[in-house]
């Protein structure tokens, strides 16, 4: 508002997650480019559904000129966004979308198709193990919708069949893949819990074929992760064990380069935050926008790791 233009809010799921920081950086980049746009990046400190809704309510009350939100709880957020429609504030979603029946509450969605992240991860696994085997999946918060969609994508890709609503059922041999007992591992987005869980599973199941994580938390803690997988480096190199993880943060790329991981599927959060500002400006100025807008995925394996991220 300092320059009398637009103030657009970019609301992430949580502010303590490095993933969303990249979106914030994109948002600030757009702010620099667009003279008349201010980016207000605000979300819950930790991942809590209610607080995010309260923040959106307050933004509506405050009268920002547009809101781009990554809803944690889609139906609940839809209710809060009814007020925005009433107040004439343009709304879009990013990173994760509202339910299809609430789609008219937002103008568009910019982000990835979560299902595809899981699917691509599974493809990376299948490429290394065409005959199937045993697998352990790792996920974030228990009820996190985006992780559940990724789980479903991974499971359906591995099974080669449809498995119903997210997160699907654990695989018991479909497509040659069996999920071992104790999985999927729930991490609540805590890097330490993620590493500990993976360590224990690898120790308890020496014959495990693949370990697939739907979030970067597994590899956040660089050193701990490296320590945990180093004993299995040889198996990973000669194709007995595969570890694939979502996202393409810098330390993840370095780990993969060092042979301590076999594949990454990255979203483009920077682009999401960046595009969100442009889209909101378009909406605010009454222009038509596409719906949805996919930002695409970067799929990396040990061979293309130097070039896969643009």
């Amino acid at each position: 508002e300092a320059h009398g233009g637009y103030t657009f809010a970019l609301v992430p799921k949580a502010m303590n997650n490095p993933f969303f920081d990249l979106a914030r950086d994109g948002c600030y980049k757009a702010q620099e480019e667009l003279e008349d746009v201010t980016c207000e990046y605000i979300g819950p400190g930790e991942h809590t559904e209610l607080e995010q809704i309260q923040i959106v309510q307050d933004l509506i009350t405050k009268g920002v000129d547009g809101i781009a939100v990554a809803p944690s709880n889609a139906p609940a957020m839809a209710k809060a966004l009814e007020d925005a429609a009433e107040a004439g504030i343009p709304v879009m979603t990013w990173d994760s979308d509202l339910l299809p029946e609430d789609a008219e509450l937002r103008t568009t969605y910019v982000g990835t198709f979560n299902y595809d992240i899981g699917r691509h991860l599974a493809e990376l696994v299948q490429a290394r193990h065409p005959d199937g085997g045993t697998i352990c999946l790792q996920t974030g918060g228990a009820a996190a919708a985006n992780h559940n969609e990724r789980l479903l994508g991974a499971r359906e890709q591995l099974a080669g069949m449809e498995l119903g609503d997210p997160p699907g059922e654990p695989l018991t041999g479909q497509g040659g893949w069996t999920e071992i007992s104790g999985c999927p591992l729930i991490t609540n987005d805590d890097g330490n819990v993620a590493v500990q869980g993976m360590t224990d599973i690898l120790a308890a199941n020496p014959d495990l074929t693949a370990f697939l994580s739907t979030g970067a938390f597994t590899q956040w803690f660089d050193n701990a992760y490296r320590n945990a997988v180093e004993p299995y480096q040889e198996e990973m190199a000669n194709g007995d064990l595969t570890i694939v993880v979502a996202d393409t943060l810098p330390m993840q790329i370095a780990q993969t380069k060092d042979g301590l991981g076999n594949g990454l599927v990255g979203q483009r959060p920077f682009e999401m935050g960046y595009k969100a500002m442009y889209i909101l400006k378009d909406i605010a100025e009454g222009n038509e926008v596409e719906d949805p807008i996919y930002t695409g995925l970067d799929v990396c394996n040990n061979d293309n790791i130097d070039t896969c991220v643009n």
């Binding site: 502010m15 207000e40 990046y41 605000i42 979300g43 400190g45 930790e46 991942h47 809590t48 559904e49 209610l50 607080e51 809704i53 309260q54 923040i55 309510q57 307050d58 933004l59 509506i60 009350t61 405050k62 009268g63 709880n73 889609a74 139906p75 609940a76 839809a78 209710k79 007020d83 339910l99 918060g141 228990a142 009820a143 996190a144 919708a145 559940n148 609503d165 997210p166 997160p167």
Partner: protein
């Protein structure tokens, strides 16, 4: 003795003595924490109405009161637990569990009333287990309810099969009206909070149940020796706390329009904070019915004000913490000044 007759009767003990009181009336109120937190709320409100035009709008007031009401309802029950020098960490998980049992019942095609009963029954069972372990097996409330925190969340996951529920059967509209709408411009959940607060106020002041709970918090041993059924009272207190959470869950799901097993994660800290800010003492023996809503209101008000005032996002938590401490400081300063 003749000398005495002429003057005051120094030996007599009359009404003048037995009706004396150290402080009374308004003086007693001045000494309570809820009063000073209330003063802090008024002060923040005044400042905010200058800082932001959006603050005093009807919509903002509507949002603030509704948001605080869920925590206020849970805090009412928590006050009772804390008054017995206990603690209940399982309320957040219980909210999630109630959300799932309620959601599953409605999804299966039942009406709102059966849903409500299932929700309350879930809460009562959890409270009963907590209470029995604490009262009869003498386990530390912290450990028992921490264990329950994990167990309730796990059961919610298993029951929901980790799926979100957002179809609430034939009476979906009624259900969502109860939790999300308003009567006379006041959100329904605020009405519920108001009524429950009045009931608790009455209970603390005028029933032996209330009196006994306070006595147990003051000196459980003495209460036991006075013939108060301490064990049964403690069980009842945990059941009451859980049932308050059950009510909050029922309203909350109606308001959000969806139920996930992740609901209420870390709410226990907020609820306990609201209770303690409202004047409860973790050592037990102190309770104010008005403390719970006032504490919850302060927490919500701080959050709302910082956002409206445009404090940078990364700094907001800092001011939340700071104002929490300052609000409680007020009472201390006044009570030390008076000594």
């Amino acid at each position: 003795m003749d000398k005495v007759e002429e003057s005051v009767d120094h030996a007599a003990i009359d009404d003048e003595i037995t009706s004396r009181q150290e402080v009374s009336g308004f003086g007693t109120i001045l000494r309570t924490q809820p009063f000073w937190v209330f003063v802090a709320i008024i002060a923040i409100g005044l400042v905010m109405s200058f800082v932001s035009d959006a603050f005093m709008t009807e919509r903002n007031m509507f949002n603030i009161t509704r948001n605080m009401a869920f925590f206020g309802i849970m805090a009412l029950g928590m006050s009772a637990v804390i008054c017995t020098a206990g603690i209940d960490l399982s309320v957040g998980s219980l909210l999630g569990l109630c959300a799932i049992t309620l959601g599953l019942t409605l999804q299966a095609g039942w009406g709102v009333l059966p849903g409500f009963l299932v929700c309350m029954a879930t809460a009562a069972v959890v409270g009963l287990i907590n209470g029995v372990l604490i009262a009869y097996l003498r386990l530390a409330p912290f450990v028992v309810t921490l264990g329950m925190l994990a167990m309730a969340r796990s059961i919610a996951m298993v029951l929901s099969d980790n799926k979100m529920i957002y179809e609430f059967g034939p009476q979906q509209d009624l259900f969502e009206w109860i939790g999300g709408e308003s009567v006379l411009g006041v959100p329904n959940v605020v009405w519920v909070l108001g009524i429950l607060t009045a009931i608790f106020w009455w209970v603390w002041k005028f029933t032996s149940w209330g009196r006994w709970v306070i006595a147990i918090g003051g000196n459980a041993q003495a209460a036991k020796l006075s013939g108060i059924p301490v064990e049964r009272m403690i069980v009842s207190v945990y059941v009451v706390c859980s049932m308050c959470t059950g009510v909050a869950a029922f309203m909350f799901i109606g308001y959000t329009g969806s139920a996930t097993n992740g609901m209420g994660v870390t709410y226990e800290l907020n609820v306990i904070a609201a209770t303690v800010i409202g004047g409860a003492n973790l050592m037990g023996g102190v309770v104010y019915a008005l403390g719970a809503p006032i504490g919850a209101a302060l927490v919500e008000l701080i959050r709302n004000s910082l956002l409206l005032a445009g404090i940078p996002a990364l700094w907001q938590q800092f001011f939340v913490g700071l104002f929490l401490i300052l609000a409680v400081l007020l009472e201390q300063i006044r009570n030390r000044g008076g000594k």
